[in-house]
Amino acid sequence: MNINFTLVAQAIAFAVLIWFTVKFVWPPLLKAIETRQKEIADGLAAAQEGRSALEVAAKKSEATLNEAKQKASEIIGQAEKRAAQIIDEAKGNAKVEGDRIIAGAKAEIDQEVNRAKEGLRTQVSALAVAGAEKILRKEIDAKAHSDMLSKLAAEL
């Protein structure tokens, strides 16, 4: 237990060691560790950011998809409506056209009937003249009595 000059020497050594550590050992270690901590924190923040961005994108894509679906169904609905309209129109047109054709046919038939009647009239009058001629023989002049005969034919 003898206190001597060693104490002073040790204290100096201690002071030098502290100075050395304060100056050269602590700062680089602190810097390295703090830089790494910051990097890790930044990385985690970036990851979080990416996650939220992904979430936003997913929401957006879902919304777009929904919109597209809605639009598609709308378009289909419109197309169906239009198709029904076209069919109705076509039906209307067909009916008009059919009526028109039927009317034409009826007119033609009427015409034919008239023409046939006309023919028959002429033939009947000719027959009547021929019959009368046969009956009367020379007594009747075809030319003199044609006026009366055509009147008769018109009455038939």
Binding site: I3, F5, T6, L7, Q10, L17, T21, V25, P28, I33
Partner: protein, 274 residues
Amino acid sequence: MTTEHTQQAEHALTPSSYIQHHLGFNAQSVGDASFWTLHVDTLAMSVILGLVVMGLIWWVARGATAGVPTKRQAFVELVFGFVDDQVKNIFHGDRHSFIAPTALTVFLWVLAMNAMDFLPVDIFAKLMHGLGFEHWRAVPTSDINTTFALALAVWFLMIFFSIKAKGLGGWIHELFCSPFGSNPLVWPANFLFNLIEYVSKPLSHSLRLFGNMYAGEIIFLLLGMWAATGLAGTIFGAILGAGWSIFHILIVALQAFIFMMLTVVYLAMAHESH
């Protein structure tokens, strides 16, 4: 004084001469009075250990990268984090500018010096004897000069930080006005209280470390002495020596830790005003 023991040790190996031989310092006189003596062994061992330990840390710190650390750097960062955490819990100021690095220095240096206790006393003494050193103490912290030097350095730092934090007037005011109050009647009591505190701090700080390391060394010496008595003594001395060495790992680390913690606590207290 030491030379007498040397003479005895040279001639007859008695238990007391054996122990005294091992506890003798390599003392060199550098002046007239007995104060002007230098324990070369203590000084050389502590300086070499300080250089080796702090040099290693410095070597790693110099190449420290913020990226993926090597295992070497990871280990140093482990120590760094351990010390930094302790300081952070006690001292709430700018610890990085002084107190935390000081704590790291104290911890590693004292740990290294304490660890010299693991060196087998007789083999090491023999080795140093072969190198021409009659006396060579391996454990610098079992020299009261070392522990007292550290404790006194911390003590001065404590006073320095106290004055720096509170101003000279504030410090003197605190000497007289705490802990009992600023009534002039209690000034003497306050001052006495603070005086005792200021005296007891370095004493307990240094003597705790010294006592532990000194006692540890003595026990190794006693076991070594037992080993010299015969076969049974050798066997049991070896077993107990191994046991004591293993237990001593705890003491070495624990005392270094306690010394560091007290250093931090004292320096942190100096920053607080009462």
